[in-house]
């Protein structure tokens, strides 16, 4: 993969991550708590 394609792929990975975090944050507004993410094994 050349450098240009790598730049596009890296930006795509970053944008997907931002979207996933936004969706997760929106879900947590409805159901707050750690959701097991804190390592408490809930």
């Amino acid at each position: 993969m050349n450098e240009n394609w790598q730049s596009i792929a890296a930006i795509a990975v970053v944008l997907i991550t931002v979207v996933l975090f936004a969706v997760r944050a929106a879900k947590r507004r409805k159901k707050p708590g750690c959701g097991g993410g804190c390592g408490c094994a809930k």
């Binding site: 993969m1 050349n2 450098e3 394609w5 790598q6 730049s7 792929a9 890296a10 930006i11 990975v13 970053v14 991550t17 931002v18 996933l20 975090f21 947590r28 707050p32 708590g33 750690c34 097991g36 993410g37 804190c38 390592g39 408490c40 094994a41 809930k42």
Partner: protein, 694 residues
């Protein structure tokens, strides 16, 4: 709603706390179990599967431990509601296994008698039979089975003894109905309960065909959360309770006394005790572990050993994980040509995730020890010793368990404060809970201690000593703030705590390993999702916007993260921190362990040598200021450690405090007082240390 015969039968496991109920559940289900929460409450719901002796699949549900169906906490309310079929998401069980601590049979039979009155087919398990035998108690299981009319099995959950007999009993499709006669309800109270049925039906609190037990348990419900009941229904319940209280003062106590009289009669026929009670190993050990001075010294010794093991034993596996990620980074480097995607993987994802995953062995050792302390019965002694200290700072003994939970994670700790009746104590407990050093702080502590004392320079005992001091500092800070809140901010009475001291027993290794496995899974899932995502974002923030400069330090300084670090630098410089540490501090306000990921990514992005895959601690130790002095001097490391002990850096905890207190006021007060204290103490340490020439 009960599961139909064609479905897999649902068997509820119930019992008093410390009766060995969960050990038995783990023994029966092994890894075939799922852990969730009951909707609306913070009570753990454990469901698992096992096979009967005839190969028939059975579903098991481990219900919360309780002393009675007259609920006084959300846990007890869940137990009662599931057994009455009042929780829509959990079907009413087809059968019940009542687990009884044989050495406390009279008290345990109290709830058994209530369960039997519900009419569900029941199997009675006399667990910890060995402990009763050590005390020379003779329990006639056959006679008990005959009198109650149900199967009775003796077990020893720790060794698995009696498990086959229990499975045989579970395999029976024809578990007989009990012969137990309901405890007598005085005629007046019975009539009042009958009369309350109509109004309760009208509000929808109970259904028309409910037995007398439903209004009884509803009117004797002291659970503060009252899940599933609307305000109007609760108001009606309160009105009816007031009228019964006025007509029959002490009616609840009379019912308890009547039930115990029936149990005493039963025990007189099945239990033979020696004339003089033999001194048990528990009594002997408690002379040391509950001693005001020896008990406290013992506690320090236990924690010292724990932290020593965390450093000494975890060293090897941590090296393997470090090596694995180093090799992974090198492999990606050779497999891909230069470019942003390779940079993201080599300098973002790999160091970011490894910066946290590397501490997995230490976290597992911590939870293994917590499991040992819980399973042996030592944790209750710890609660007893701490209760004395807590009462000195005006806290309720009940605050100890939420506070103790917070050493794993503040979120369940804050939620567990719901069990505290006094609003004042509950609020203070919520406010101080995050000062307990949670497992997310462990990676940060370990990293900074390793920079402070490089490998080989000092022994593991010195590192353990520093770690113990940090935990003690957080605990001491919590007590100081509890005292301040109790005396100056919130005044009111505290309520006493009744604590059960279970007998000491050999830990059930399988149960403990299961707990450790669940924690490892949760930790790795978090590393593979949240930490991975944050590492990607930190890499992006440290890489963009791009400049034309070939100098990577300049590129980092101009990036979004660099600009943010420079923006807060004037505020953190007096603490001895530079702008790169500032980036780590900003990142760790999402979660504390993100500090490690952030610093890993920042130093990887900045590195001129793409093949420099040195561990983070070495990179931090090698970092120099413009005057050649180390950035991470001992004073800066100590200042940072103290900052992490006190600062409120957890979005999840802030959100849960807001929800539990119903107001942003307390969540913001907590954020302010904790972070303010962290700032002031770190400032004092650095400034005084510098003035003294350190």
């Amino acid at each position: 709603m009960s599961a139909t015969a064609s479905e897999t039968p649902l068997i509820a496991i119930v019992g008093n706390p410390n009766s060995g109920k969960t050990t038995l559940f783990n023994l029966l289900t092994g890894l075939k179990q799922k852990v969730a929460n009951y909707p609306g409450v913070t009570v753990e719901k454990k469901i698992g599967e096992c096979y009967s002796q005839h190969g028939k699949k059975l579903r098991l549900i481990d219900l919360p431990g309780a002393y009675s169906l007259n609920a006084r906490s959300p846990d007890e309310a869940v137990l009662r509601d599931v057994l009455l079929g009042r929780r829509p998401e959990t079907p009413r069980p087809d059968r019940v296994v009542c687990v009884v601590d044989s050495a406390n049979i009279e008290r345990n039979l109290y709830m058994v008698s209530q369960v039997l009155e519900l009419g569900l087919p029941t199997i009675l398990v006399l667990n910890m039979a060995d402990v009763a035998e050590q005390r020379e108690w003779r329990i006639d299981a056959a006679k008990l089975s005959e009198l109650l009319g149900i199967p009775v099995v003796k077990t020893q959950a720790v060794t698995g003894q009696g498990l086959i007999e229990l499975k045989l009993a579970l395999s029976r499709d024809d578990v007989p109905a009990t012969k137990w006669q309901s405890a007598v309800i005085p005629a007046g109270v019975r009539a009042a309960l009958e009369q309350s049925r109509g109004p309760l039906c009208e509000t929808g609190a109970i259904h028309a065909k409910a037995s007398l037990l439903e209004p009884l348990y509803l009117l004797s419900d002291h659970d503060p959360t009252h899940y599933g009941l609307a305000d109007a229904q609760m108001n009606r319940v309160h009105e009816l309770r007031k009228s019964i209280d006025a007509a029959f003062p002490g009616w609840e106590d009379d019912l308890v006394a009547e039930r115990y009289r029936s149990i005493e009669k039963l025990c007189a026929e099945v239990l033979k005790r020696p004339d003089q009670e033999k001194e048990t190993i528990t009594t002997k050990l408690d002379r040391i572990f509950l001693h005001p001075v020896l008990g406290f010294l013992n506690l320090l010794l236990v924690l010292g050993i724990l932290f020593y093991l965390i450093f000494r034993v975890a060293e090897g596996p941590m090296g393997w994980i470090e090596g694995f990620f180093g090799d992974l980074g090198a492999w990606v480097e050779t497999m891909m040509g230069p470019g942003d995607l390779r940079d993201l993987m080599v300098n973002g994802i790999v160091p970011g995730v490894s910066g946290v995953v590397i501490f997995l062995p230490q976290i597992l050792i911590l939870f293994f020890f917590i499991g040992i302390m819980e399973d042996t019965g030592y944790m209750s002694r710890l609660a007893f010793i701490m209760d004395w200290l807590m009462s000195k700072v005006g806290l309720n003994g009940k605050s100890f368990l939420p506070f103790l939970s917070s050493y794993a994670c503040a979120v369940p700790g804050v939620m567990a404060a719901r069990t505290i009746d006094s609003p004042k104590d509950r609020l203070i407990t919520i406010l101080i809970a995050p000062l307990a050093s949670c497992s997310a702080r462990l990676p940060v502590y370990s990293l900074l201690i390793a920079v402070l004392f490089p490998v080989g320079q000092v022994g593991a005992w010195a590192q353990a000593g520093i770690m113990l001091a940090l935990y003690a500092l957080g605990t001491g800070g919590a007590f100081v703030f509890a005292w301040i809140f109790s005396k100056c901010v919130m005044k009111g009475d505290s309520s006493p705590m009744i604590l059960e001291m279970p007998p000491y027993k050999r830990p059930a290794l399988k149960s403990i390993l299961l707990l450790v496995w669940q924690r490892a899974k949760a930790f790795l899932v978090r590393a593979g999702t949240i930490i991975l995502g944050i590492s990607i974002l930190i890499w992006a923030a440290s890489t963009y916007p791009k400049t034309n400069s070939e100098n990577k330090s300049l590129q980092l300084a101009n990036s979004f993260a660099g600009q943010a670090g420079h923006f807060i630098e004037p505020a953190i410089k007096p603490l001895g921190y530079d702008w790169k540490i500032g980036i780590g501090l900003i990142g760790s306000f999402a979660a504390r362990e993100v500090f490690n990921s952030t610093m890993s990514v920042v130093y990887a992005v900045e590195s001129e040598d793409d093949e420099n895959l040195d561990p983070l601690r070495d990179k931090l130790a090698a970092e120099r200021r413009s005057d050649g002095k180390p950035v991470y001097s001992p004073l800066v490391c100590i200042s940072l450690l103290v900052f992490y002990v006190f600062a409120m850096q957890c979005v999840s905890t802030i959100a849960i405090v807001k929800r539990e207190t119903g107001s942003w006021k307390w969540a913001l007060l907590q954020l302010g007082y904790m972070t303010g204290t962290a700032y002031v103490l770190s400032l004092l340490i650095f400034q005084i240390g510098t003035a003294l020439g350190y």
